[in-house]
Amino acid sequence: MEVAMDEANDFSRCNFSTAAAMDDYFACAWNNWEQSVADVGPFSASADADDFHDLVESIVFADDVDYDPSTGHFSLPQSPSYNSNTSTCTPVAEEEEHNATATAGDDAKGLRLVHLLEAAAEALGGVHKCPDLARVILVRLRELLGRGGEGTSIERLAGHFTDALQGLLDGGRTSLRDGGQHNHNNKMEVLTAFQLLQDMSPYTKFGHFTANQAILEATAGDRRIHVVDFEIAEGVQWASLMQALASRPGTSSPHLRITAMIRSGGSRSAQETGRLLAAYAASLGQPFSFSQCRLEANSERFRAAGVKVVKGEALVMNCVLHPTTTAARRRTTGSVASFLSGSVDLGARVVTLVEEEVGEGEEAEQEQGRGFVGRFMAELGRYSAVWDSLEAEFPMQGQARAVVERVILGPRIAGAIGHAYRAEEEEGGQVESWGEWMTAMGFGKVSISCFNHSQAKLLLGLFKGGYKVEETATNKLVLGWKTRRLLSASVWKPPSPVLLPVIDSFEDSDFLFD
């Protein structure tokens, strides 16, 4: 009777009016709920969600999947995992399959990361913006990529792009995967990374050597050379120029004067650079002087009147836009335009320009048509070429490459993506190719000499192969990795002052952003 009463109490508790535990009455071994049942294919409840994921992926990644447009149906693959109750593979075949799928797996993973990145860019900046979807895709990406700094090459690359997109989403309150804001890298680390990049790739030296050679050739007979430099950075370019000047046979070195353009806050580091260059010049016995010239405070526009000009000097202007250190923010269109057009006022002998090369050909045109997503994919293509080049040249130096990636390339990626995103919001006002701009403004082309071209080839010869240099115009050399054009160095002559009014009006128009 007691037992029966207990049961009665338990049963009555099962109505909604009491909240007592029903476990006593309905106690069951919990395992019973998920008891394993015979596998009946991917739709069985006991099959992992993973099996279903794989099945869906097999449809959407398969090359040979059949689609019938009249019904709108895909045909399912006839794989053993789909049909139930098939016998298992033999052990040998399994192992071969496993090895084959290992590399195929890496490729598939890389492809998946690219697709996800593209989808995230689409959700963030495509035609139908959906930030919530973008957020979720980025979560998924981070989940696939693990913690920052590790993983395969493609994973690290994807990680930087993921961080860049996250930065856009958060509008500044980013938590990057490695937990730290890139700007907080210390100066030592930046210099180390910069040095590594110089040693491991021709990216820095290509621009410097080509520009320097053009400057040397344009000022061959002059006793005084004045270089006005848009972005002095560490001054490495001028160290090599001085070396070249000092080792010229015959006459003594001409006097070299460098005027560095500085922005607000940049004075101290420019002074430091100036001191280092002066010391280096002294060690070479190279007559040298250094001065700074401020750009306008907010607009960073260049005023030719701010540059002290000495009679009889050969003045050249140097504009390296390919950011070589983390210190350099992307410069505004207005700032660059004012500098380049300032060459007319100063009567510069030549203007040397080093900039990133935009893609060419059909793929690039397609990408350009797609707004932010197109630019995003173009940057992804560019940086994966850079990544590939570093890995191909120095496969064993993973640590060193990781430093370069983290300290220099990662921030550069973030800058490029931010730039591309903001460009979407501006009306016009973006210049993709300054070379084209200069042509349009009437700048003349100064031919690249055979010597200069050969020098570039020699530089590339220091590396294993994969880098290419092309002369795409008489005044322009382009450095590329495999089929991807990355960087160009070109030499120009400012137009005659007759065109001055045109350039003036350009200065007045509203090209400023950032």
Partner: protein
């Protein structure tokens, strides 16, 4: 509390990692993506369909948050649409579910759900209230219970019948018309409910009958089937039952068969959704999004994060979505899945056509329902039906999700 089975633990970190899922409320992202996918399917845009299915596959998870689970549910259904494998998938899924059913597991699930949300208890309270009202002072009752509630509705009714002050408890016959999947556990359920009734002092005779397949669903209500006896008053209780009759003529046939029993009262509880239309795919899809969106949202807020019951209920929804979206009821492998719900006002039209008139819930019943809702978390409320529909709706965040109504023959 025992450890959850292995397949869940590795994925749970996804849901619980604070870096990944911050304290921000879940923003809805799945619905638009799903709509785009549905559109790609109905427009036969294979490239986009592949791309969107792939994206859904990346982002969906049956173990994630509400958005991820909703995406997973629809991904399964859309995948079946795209590969014309709906019928096969549904049959397999059902077969597996049937194999896993045990008395203990199914009752536990039903009861945990009742604890967490009024989704099912709403219908029980409303129907029981109407039954008590209609069967007042009836000495011999025969309840025909067409449902898969595993008799969770009846203890309260038996208790109420036993404690009626003025009269002795009536003699009760309970004939449960259960689906084939539930048939296995019905005998044990019968034993227990009879025992309970004895303890309450109510004479109860229990019988379970397996419902025939949907075209012949009405056969379940033939008098010979039910072994009707003279002198007993019949009450028909239909919980999520009407939708199991095939669409069109079978539903009316079932209702007419019910009317032919000359019942004192017919109580109806159905989930509020229209999946019976044969219109555009996009419209059915939108209705699925509305209903299952509310359902998954409700499950997320009602159950603890690591609940296996929630997973089990969602798994049932995966199956029913496949049935609704990917099984068109044609072809040699077609399944009778009984998922084609209709809305309250649609059932009202049918019931009236088949010889019934509604009678409203008494104030006592409404008070009971209000008291019921107070026992659960906020978000639930009652909405009396108006216009073409009669009865009462249960709403979740203002969205009507369950409908209940009582009828008698004209």
């Amino acid at each position: 509390m025992q450890n959850p089975p292995a397949p869940f633990t590795s994925a749970l970190h996804l849901a619980l990692d604070p870096d990944l899922f911050s304290a921000d409320p879940i923003r809805p992202w799945a619905a638009d993506l799903l709509r785009n996918c549905a559109r790609a399917f109905s427009e036969r845009d294979s490239a986009n369909l592949q791309r969107l299915l792939w994206m859904l596959n990346e982002l969906a998870s049956p173990y994630g948050d509400r958005e991820q689970r909703l995406a997973y549910a629809f991904l399964q259904a859309l995948f079946c649409c795209a590969t014309a494998s709906g019928d096969r998938c549904y049959t397999t899924s059902l077969a597996v579910a049937e194999r896993a059913i045990s008395f203990a597991s199914t009752r536990r699930l039903a009861l945990k759900f009742q604890e967490a949300a009024p989704w099912t208890t709403f219908g029980h309270v409303a129907a029981n209230g109407a039954l008590l009202h209609a069967l007042d002072a009836v000495p011999a009752i025969h309840i025909v219970d067409v449902s898969d509630t595993f008799c969770t509705q009846w203890p309260t009714l038996l208790e109420a019948l036993a404690s009626r002050a003025d009269t002795d408890a009536p003699r009760v016959r309970l004939t449960v018309v259960a689906s084939a999947a539930s048939a296995g556990v019905m005998s044990e359920i019968g034993v227990r409910i009879e025992k309970f009734a004895r303890l309450m002092g109510v004479s109860l005779e229990f019988r379970a009958v397996v419902a025939p397949a949907s075209p012949r669903f009405a056969d379940a209500l033939r008098p010979e089937e039910l072994e009707l006896r003279d002198g007993e008053t019949v009450a028909v209780n239909c919980v999520s039952a009407l939708r199991r009759a095939g669409t069109g003529g079978s539903r009316d046939a079932f209702l007419r068969a019910a009317a032919a029993l000359e019942p004192r009262v017919v109580t109806v509880v159905e989930e509020e959704a229209n999946f019976a239309g044969v219109g555009e795919f996009a419209e059915s899809f939108e209705e699925c999004l509305r209903f299952y969106g509310a359902y998954f949202d409700m499950l997320e807020e009602s159950f603890p994060a690591t609940s296996n019951e929630r997973l089990a209920l969602e798994r049932e929804s995966f199956r029913s979505l496949v049935g609704v979206l990917a099984c068109d009821g044609r072809g040699p492998d077609r399944v009778d899945h009984g998922e084609r719900r209709e809305r309250g006002r649609q059932w009202c039209r049918r019931l009236e056509r088949c010889g019934f008139q509604t009678f409203g819930f008494s104030d006592d019943v409404v008070d009971d329902l209000k008291a019921l809702l107070r026992r659960y978390r906020p978000g639930w409320s009652l909405l009396p039906a108006e216009g073409e529909a009669s009865g009462m709706y249960l709403t979740w965040k203002e969205e009507p999700v369950v409908w209940s109504c009582a009828w008698k023959p004209k």
